[in-house]
Subunit: 433 residues, 4 copies
Amino acid sequence: MAYATEKLDEEKVFKDPVHRYVHVRDRVIWDLIGTKEFQRLRRIKQLGTTFLTFHGAEHSRFNHSLGVYEIVRRIIDDVFAGRPEWNDDDRLLTLCAALLHDLGHGPFSHSFEKVFDFDHEDFTRKIIEGETEVNQVLTKVSADFPKQVAEVIAKTSEKKLVISLISSQIDADRMDYLQRDAYYTGVSYGHFDMERILRVMRPREDQAVIKQSGMHAVEDYIMSRYQMYWQVYFHPVSRSAEVILSKILHRAKDLFAQNFAFKHEPLHFYSFFHEKVTLEDYLKLDEAIMFYYFQIWQEEADPILSDLCKRFVNRNLFKYAEFDPAKEYKKLAKLTNLFEKAGIDPEYYLVVDSSSDLPYDFYRPGEEEERLPIHLLMKNGELKEFSRESEIVDAISGKRRTDHKLYYPADLILDDDASEMNKQIRKLLDIEN
Amino acid sequence: MAYATEKLDEEKVFKDPVHRYVHVRDRVIWDLIGTKEFQRLRRIKQLGTTFLTFHGAEHSRFNHSLGVYEIVRRIIDDVFAGRPEWNDDDRLLTLCAALLHDLGHGPFSHSFEKVFDFDHEDFTRKIIEGETEVNQVLTKVSADFPKQVAEVIAKTSEKKLVISLISSQIDADRMDYLQRDAYYTGVSYGHFDMERILRVMRPREDQAVIKQSGMHAVEDYIMSRYQMYWQVYFHPVSRSAEVILSKILHRAKDLFAQNFAFKHEPLHFYSFFHEKVTLEDYLKLDEAIMFYYFQIWQEEADPILSDLCKRFVNRNLFKYAEFDPAKEYKKLAKLTNLFEKAGIDPEYYLVVDSSSDLPYDFYRPGEEEERLPIHLLMKNGELKEFSRESEIVDAISGKRRTDHKLYYPADLILDDDASEMNKQIRKLLDIEN
Amino acid sequence: MAYATEKLDEEKVFKDPVHRYVHVRDRVIWDLIGTKEFQRLRRIKQLGTTFLTFHGAEHSRFNHSLGVYEIVRRIIDDVFAGRPEWNDDDRLLTLCAALLHDLGHGPFSHSFEKVFDFDHEDFTRKIIEGETEVNQVLTKVSADFPKQVAEVIAKTSEKKLVISLISSQIDADRMDYLQRDAYYTGVSYGHFDMERILRVMRPREDQAVIKQSGMHAVEDYIMSRYQMYWQVYFHPVSRSAEVILSKILHRAKDLFAQNFAFKHEPLHFYSFFHEKVTLEDYLKLDEAIMFYYFQIWQEEADPILSDLCKRFVNRNLFKYAEFDPAKEYKKLAKLTNLFEKAGIDPEYYLVVDSSSDLPYDFYRPGEEEERLPIHLLMKNGELKEFSRESEIVDAISGKRRTDHKLYYPADLILDDDASEMNKQIRKLLDIEN
Amino acid sequence: MAYATEKLDEEKVFKDPVHRYVHVRDRVIWDLIGTKEFQRLRRIKQLGTTFLTFHGAEHSRFNHSLGVYEIVRRIIDDVFAGRPEWNDDDRLLTLCAALLHDLGHGPFSHSFEKVFDFDHEDFTRKIIEGETEVNQVLTKVSADFPKQVAEVIAKTSEKKLVISLISSQIDADRMDYLQRDAYYTGVSYGHFDMERILRVMRPREDQAVIKQSGMHAVEDYIMSRYQMYWQVYFHPVSRSAEVILSKILHRAKDLFAQNFAFKHEPLHFYSFFHEKVTLEDYLKLDEAIMFYYFQIWQEEADPILSDLCKRFVNRNLFKYAEFDPAKEYKKLAKLTNLFEKAGIDPEYYLVVDSSSDLPYDFYRPGEEEERLPIHLLMKNGELKEFSRESEIVDAISGKRRTDHKLYYPADLILDDDASEMNKQIRKLLDIEN
């Protein structure tokens, strides 16, 4: 039998708290899950540093990837199969792309990628197309299958409908992570009627659309997303941990550039410091390795690196103040000055962090990131952009919200320090005496 | 104000998916949570290797410890407070013991402690009484407070009622972990009406007892426990991972004893290999460190160590067969022989694992581990041992159930190996050709 | 001991699927629940005809009333107690008002009150102040206690803070019914983090306010409310049942006015037909009585009454078409004409129903119904009207949404009727042939 | 197209809180749901008087019937379809039998049938085979289809596999009601992993069997059932309401036999009093009618009928004492005597109620009700009776548990009555003075 269509003798299931069960019948999917590159996702948390704010959020990207696969499987097998607009030859491609869409993520990728200036999406492609177990499995389907999968994930494929199931404003990725992150953190946001949304999805040439009768379920989904962003993903305490993490990496990189003599050689980081990262190096890096270094770096001679690592490992985070860059840039300059005088390096200890989200948008041609809007399939067969029908979504459509905070180590600005300088810092940061 | 009774200006809450919120009002509790020894529990999974079977089970002991604290807090503040049999002076002691009861757990402690022959409970005591941040906090309450807390956890305290809340056949520890592990794995077992059980708990001199009207809720709890043991905790696939883990540690220890030249010095393990573990060494060890070594040991020259580490990290586990030691010891001997001939070291690759549980027992004086039975408080004020009232629990009371399995690497016994030896192995293990 | 402060020997609990348990400790509350007027609420469905659309929605007002009581109890006992802005002397008054706020509801009160032109709120007052078991219990507290309770429910009391807990834009009534109606219907809307909202409620002189940190939980609540209105409460199929119900009552009243000879005397309705309803008559009326008449009226000689009752009892409802009164009034006139010609009385068989909701509003002085806005308590102690802080709520604030539908009996406009008249009706109603 | 295989243009769904959605695609099923006999089930509570103990339990048999249908549909369409042991020609028959299995239930049937000595199962058959809308729909499938459906429900059909899906020790009926009743009451029992049980069900000639790997899920189901029986179905307070209800009917029947002059003629009951019940009469009877009579009978001259009705309507129930018939028959005789002397008719006011359950049993040939045991399908293809594999179920297998209680009106035995007789009654009933 052709490998592409080979079925397991008996369906395998994974017990999943969000979808109850994840069902696998295809040999290809089963083999992909067993590869070491996919298993590696078990060692990378879905929400990075969020577990320091919501202690329940310790789930991995492995967890989430299975969930995205399962949602896509249900859409295809339970809703799309048999409809003329759906080509079932794209089934395996879609399932593989769903399962592997986050394959290139590294540990704490948000900060990591910024400091070392690269993009995990490149690595997703490299893992799929490079010398890996994943690539071996995919190649067994057909020689150009890896490339096809990579193109869907990179959104460069011509199969727009397939892409829309995995990355669009209403895709399996978002539907899984909203529910999963809500489940593990325990917050009450993140609930919406996914079963209903799946039931009203319809394949169209360019994208999956939503039958008009599902409008309210989608409204609810958009609102869930909005709440999850501001209540969970942009929680100021998680951002404090992220700031520290980012400054640790930054400091290590700087020290390396300055030929600092590390007590323990940071072997796993060398290729990142040199900005010549091979696939092999990249795949070795996971959160366990990161935490290993954070632990041993506590003992390095550099006081900044050591202090930041202690803060991160023991969760002794920075405090924050509201900050308005447009109005308060002078205040920031003053504080920077005072921190320097006080011997607290502002480069590492006085950090502005900005978070920004756009809950939903319609198509604005020519913009940097052209967003495909959600379309409603009206009773008469027409398609209508979502915000034209939904008052609620129209009200928030295209409205970017940005939040700035100023992070600093409150514990270094001691209560009992009566110096004038300290007093000024406290006043500017609005810390009570 | 005395530190022992100091309250936070405003109650702090932790969002918790199992108990909704964990509430902290006491300064002492807040300070304990902030210590680095308690934060370390974030880096140790509650269920060790179970996440390789149930992918959702990635939650930490930090998570569980907060839960146990919260349950005890509710019992004391909402149910016991004001009752003559309860001495509210024991409140803080009980809360601290609840929070810290798992403090000495190390990574994968089940296997680790067996290989290196020690007991995490010793380390719980050492952390509480040694030079640690936890000890500093507890000492601020009173000089002998650390000792008091340690004695409650060690069950050597005279305060039997306090002990029973934390370790007995119906304690906050079990009530939390059954629900929490069910939540994270997603299994449907593990649900019982905890709110009802808490409401019907009553303090008595020697233990917390259960009002007769709560009998069925407790039956349900005992059944949940039974199901969780066999469905989750003793799941044969998790045990396979545990077997491999244990053999890795075993091999590393043996190699060290044989002066094997490790490419990377296993610094973190030296004191364990020497069996002279200091508190400082112990506290450095967490799952990240373990995974770091599992990763780099893949590259060591010893084929067994390397192979076992690859298996564990990439989840390429052993298969298992049912095994009855009483009847099949001859078969095991034959297999051992055949494995040796085939060049597969049976010491590491042919392993019997036995799991055993006693769902509930009444008091059997003189036994190794004397178990305090659950007592029902009858309407007339008498106490009655639980299994005398509950037919269901009586039916399973004192019945130990043991399961033996034989683990082996199916992939090393190749399908296409037509040798007679291989055929014999396959036959004995009942592997289909 | 004074009756007002008398506690039960042992707390009583009601198992409640929404709040887990409803706790009663006060003798007055226990006695009120036992009165026949309160027990009567078991025979009146919370959602009237909605069970014909959502089969799960069969729960009673008894159910909901206990829930509102429980929420208020938690606010007072767990959050407000001990705060200087809260006067605990108002505790019993608030609990009684919460428990009894719906006491005057009759069966299907929405339609019933419109047809017979009265207001259930009058009857709430009459039951509380009249010769009833409820009045006896309340009077035992103090002679003017019934009056105090009635005034809180009628919103004429001077105790504005107490009123705000029971009727405001964020009150215990709404918080209970949104969650309860979602639970029983099974829809996924209606979830919000009530526990968090309760924790951040603070008493102020005129109303309960919300700490700023609870803003997002309240946003979520307002969105839940919005969705429940349009997805559940205004569901077009329930409105169809409501239209029929209302026309049944209408027809019976008309027939009575015309001295129609009922086969079975509608004794329970006489006082309503005469518009001289005594408290005793009113209390006899419940849904069982209504259904009794709907059943026997099926056998009355009047074809309209009989047909409408059959439709309601056997759930053979009217279909609906979208209708825009501003643009389509001519079409309605034509249809009315055609219905008359076809012998289908348009008074009973061609009905426009309009539903309208205002999800949230700030204060607009001088308007018919002055709505007290929700206020946020900012960190600096100031109060701020909610929509000034919340972009999402601002976007929908004050925007009334209205929906009109035209209801008609599709089955009477037969498929196989080829007459020109029938064809015209079908065309106007956009019914496919 | 043949009616039997006709599909709706678009699948219809019912929102269901237990199964999320109930899916209907078959025209026959849709038409059956629309019949007036099926709609009548909306006016009959699933749990009779239980709502007086668990206020949430107000759900109807309509609700449950849809649930049973949905479970069977999932078994057939998602698990059995395509397996050689399953004949898909039986699909419609099975679905119809599932949907209609409770069709003959009347209001409060448990008591009603005992007093008037008939069996609702007869009426199920009569409705299916008599002149009804249900019969019309079924006859459209084929002339003998109604009979086939009736035989499956009556367990006289030769299609044993089909029967086993609807009535056996593990059937869709039980699986639905355990979960549904737990959901509506809010108790934590009643949860088990139905999705898993469905997945491991396999069709065999005589019954549906369970794959060995599902053993623990079935254990959990049997335990749920056990707990639901004792915690919910046999709750002593519900039984008190049932006792009163039964005595009301008893009294009305006796009064009628004695030619009592009812103020309002109990027209709906005549055929029951005469024990000549036509199908038409039977179908008119629902809970609304019953409650109508309970209300008006409060005003009848007979003090017993009036008192009992008041008790039932206003929930002023009897209290209970434990009672052991074997040991306490003399005490009962004494009490009967004393009640008579005190002018409290013991026939109506001193009632022994016995509830009895057998949680699971294996086959015991020749017994009155031969129970088909649950069979496990072992890995080797053999079938094994369930209790031979499950220790827990073996422990309770075949053990009937019976509970007796003595019900009496505590309020009639006044506190302040100091007579010797009253003192004796109190002493015998163990009522505190």
